[in-house]
């Protein structure tokens, strides 16, 4: 028999709500209010920005260099030059002993870390400043070129990859014939085909699109095939008992049942294609946003480089959000849509 103290030990907790709140500092997948969700999403951008701002604007955080405003009598210092703190301290000491004019400067970050304000300004100016090269492209022209490369690369990959993936997902024999080779090929890094692509397709858009196709297609076939395989077989069986046969099973049951998932896959794969963009554009004659970035870094306009890189992120995320919204419109029956 249990004694009284043990009975007390197994008595239910005083109140269920108390139990939910007290002592639970980590609740698994607790639902969030809409307000909190929006707040957190904004914070996810503001937090890295805050770290970046702190490093840029608070003088005692990092700032390993000194920006010279007045070189004094140091012969190789110039106004606007960045020198290391050690070098600056040495020159100060030397000026003191030699009784020459000391250099004047303020702590600063290396040239490759511009402050958020500079990058924000560059965002505007890089759209309004004509290219430094006379044959150079404006930023918006570079971006347009990049978008076209991505678009055609992704479209060509999808024209082959989506139907092939669906067929592999629906037909075991075909999957067995195609997938082992695709599994092998997907490990080959797409940029490795760069020189080959140039030899075959010339130096302009062709090889760049080819690299994006090579980088995307083989993953695409496998991902689409896997998603297709996840089609609810009970629905296929229901369709069989309703008299559906052969390819109509594919067109009337399997494809519609996985369509929202295929759409999500395509969104992820499009992001994948973007990651191949820079490598692809460096092949042959450098073009698009990569040309802009390489040129700007040659002139040490790092604020412009950051602006261009951020632009890619904005285009990618913006495009994906648009596609997500479109997906919710296209597939009203899909409950798993975010």
């Amino acid at each position: 028999m249990l004694d009284r103290s043990e009975i007390a030990a197994v008595k239910p907790a005083a109140s269920e709500t108390d139990d939910l709140v007290r002592g639970q500092w980590f609740r698994v997948r607790a639902p969030l209010t809409r307000r909190l969700r929006i707040f957190l999403a904004i914070a996810s951008f503001l937090l890295p920005l805050a770290v970046w701002s702190a490093v840029s604007y608070v003088p005692f955080i990092w700032h390993p260099d000194v920006l010279i405003s007045d070189p004094g009598d140091v012969d190789y210092y110039m106004p606007g030059m960045r020198v290391t703190k050690a070098d600056y301290a040495g020159q100060l000491a030397a000026a003191k002993t030699n009784h020459t004019a000391p250099p004047v400067g303020t702590p600063c970050n290396p040239v490759y870390l511009p402050a958020p304000g500079d990058v924000a300004a560059a965002f505007y100016t890089s759209f309004t400043t004509p290219p430094a090269d006379q044959n150079g492209l404006w930023l918006h022209q570079s971006l347009w070129q990049s978008i076209q490369t991505i678009f055609w690369g992704f479209v060509i990959s999808s024209i082959i990859g989506v139907p092939l993936g669906i067929l592999c997902g629906a037909h075991s024999g075909l999957a067995r014939l195609v997938e082992p080779f695709v599994e092998f090929f997907r490990y080959l890094p797409a940029p490795a085909f760069g020189t080959l692509a140039v030899a075959v397709l010339g130096i302009y858009a062709g090889p760049k699109i080819a690299i994006i196709v090579i980088g995307t297609l083989f993953q695409q076939i496998l991902i689409i095939a896997n998603t297709t395989r996840k089609a609810d077989f009970a629905l296929v069986e229901a369709a069989l008992t309703l008299g559906t046969r052969n390819l109509r099973l594919l067109t009337s049951v399997i494809i519609p049942s996985v369509l929202p998932d295929l759409y999500r896959d395509q969104r992820i794969l499009l992001g994948w294609a973007w990651t191949y963009l820079i490598v692809a554009e460096l092949i042959g004659a450098t073009s698009g946003i990569s040309l802009f970035i390489t040129q700007q870094s040659r002139y040490q306009h790092y604020a412009n480089v950051y602006a261009a890189i951020a632009m890619i992120g904005i285009l990618g995320l913006g495009g994906d959000l648009l596609l997500a919204a479109l997906g919710r419109k296209l597939f009203p029956w899909d409950k798993s849509a975010a």
């Binding site: 249990l2 197994v10 008595k11 109509r248 009337s252 597939f331």
Partner: protein
């Protein structure tokens, strides 16, 4: 005086005699089904033979592992028998076909199609024109009182509504046999009872033979003309019980001695077996509260 399940009132006797005089719709002869999984050969069904007659309501019942779902799948053509034949109207059948409709436990409505287009599905597959298919679908939807939901998507419906759609989606094809594999087991008790009564209503109005798989004894007795009782491991025919309840059936009959006697017989046939892995008695629960007096 105790009532035996074998005591059939004259009207039931007459109905069963009429039933058996009708054409055989579906017949199963010497059917066996073995699953080969590596070294293990599992016999799911062994040497099963039975026949159903036109407009009969046949329930199949048995302990878990008796292969009743496998039987339904073979009849539907979704699985193939290892031995034996299934014939429909005297002709052997192979593979699935629209003359054998099936209703699954999990509804299996197409989530991307509206209710109306779900019902139209089989007709469209058979090449019926869009306008005609829609007309027939709307007719059937009205029959089960779902015309208001024709444009809704399946996820907007309750379980009972979904299963009504699934039933007419099969019936709109005018099948000879309707196979139902535990169609109501996912429904709550109240909805299940309403659906059982409603299924009998539909069955009365439509020229259809129903083979209804269930593990619910009350459901089987309430619905069936005859009940096919299967043994487990392997699934063999244990007994074909003729239900001694007159039609139309209603809830009052559930309390009748004949109902209780039939159910008792089913229990004796099935539950003697089913408790095999549950033989060990559950341990006594120690007293864990100091306010137990209210329930003692």
């Amino acid at each position: 005086m105790s009532v035996s399940y074998l005591d059939q009132p004259p009207e039931v006797q007459a109905r069963l005699a009429r039933l058996k005089a009708r054409d055989v719709i579906l017949s199963v002869d010497g059917m066996s089904k073995r699953f080969n999984s590596g070294k293990n050969n599992v016999t799911a069904i062994e040497d099963l033979s039975f026949q159903t007659h036109r407009r009969e309501f046949l329930c199949v019942i048995g302990p878990s592992g008796c292969g009743k779902s496998t039987l339904a799948r073979i009849l539907a053509g979704l699985d193939t028998a290892s031995e034996g034949w299934v014939s429909l109207d005297g002709k052997p059948v192979q593979g699935p076909g629209r003359e054998r409709g099936m209703v699954f436990q999990g509804y299996t409505l197409f989530p991307w199609l509206s209710v109306r287009r779900n019902v139209m599905f089989g007709l469209r597959m058979a090449g019926v024109g869009k306008v005609e298919a829609q007309r027939q679908a709307d007719e059937w939807l009205a029959l089960v009182g779902l015309e208001k939901f024709a444009d809704a998507y399946p996820h907007q419906l309750s379980g009972g509504m979904k299963q009504r759609v699934a039933i007419i989606r099969a019936l709109v094809n005018r099948p000879r046999v309707l196979l139902m594999d535990e169609p109501f087991s996912a429904l709550d008790a109240q909805t299940r009872q309403r659906m059982q009564a409603y299924l009998l209503e539909i069955w009365k109005k439509v020229d259809i033979t129903i083979i209804f798989i269930t593990h619910d004894l009350d459901e089987a007795v309430f619905l069936a003309d005859r009940i096919l009782v299967l043994d487990a491991h392997p699934g063999r025919l244990r007994e074909m019980i003729e239900v001694p309840l007159p039609r139309p059936r209603d809830a009052a009959q559930i309390a009748s001695p004949a109902f209780a006697a039939t159910k008792a017989r089913l229990e004796a046939l099935i539950h003697g077996k089913e408790t095999a892995d549950e033989d060990e008695p559950y341990p006594a629960v120690p007293l864990l509260t100091d306010v137990s007096d209210e329930v003692e």
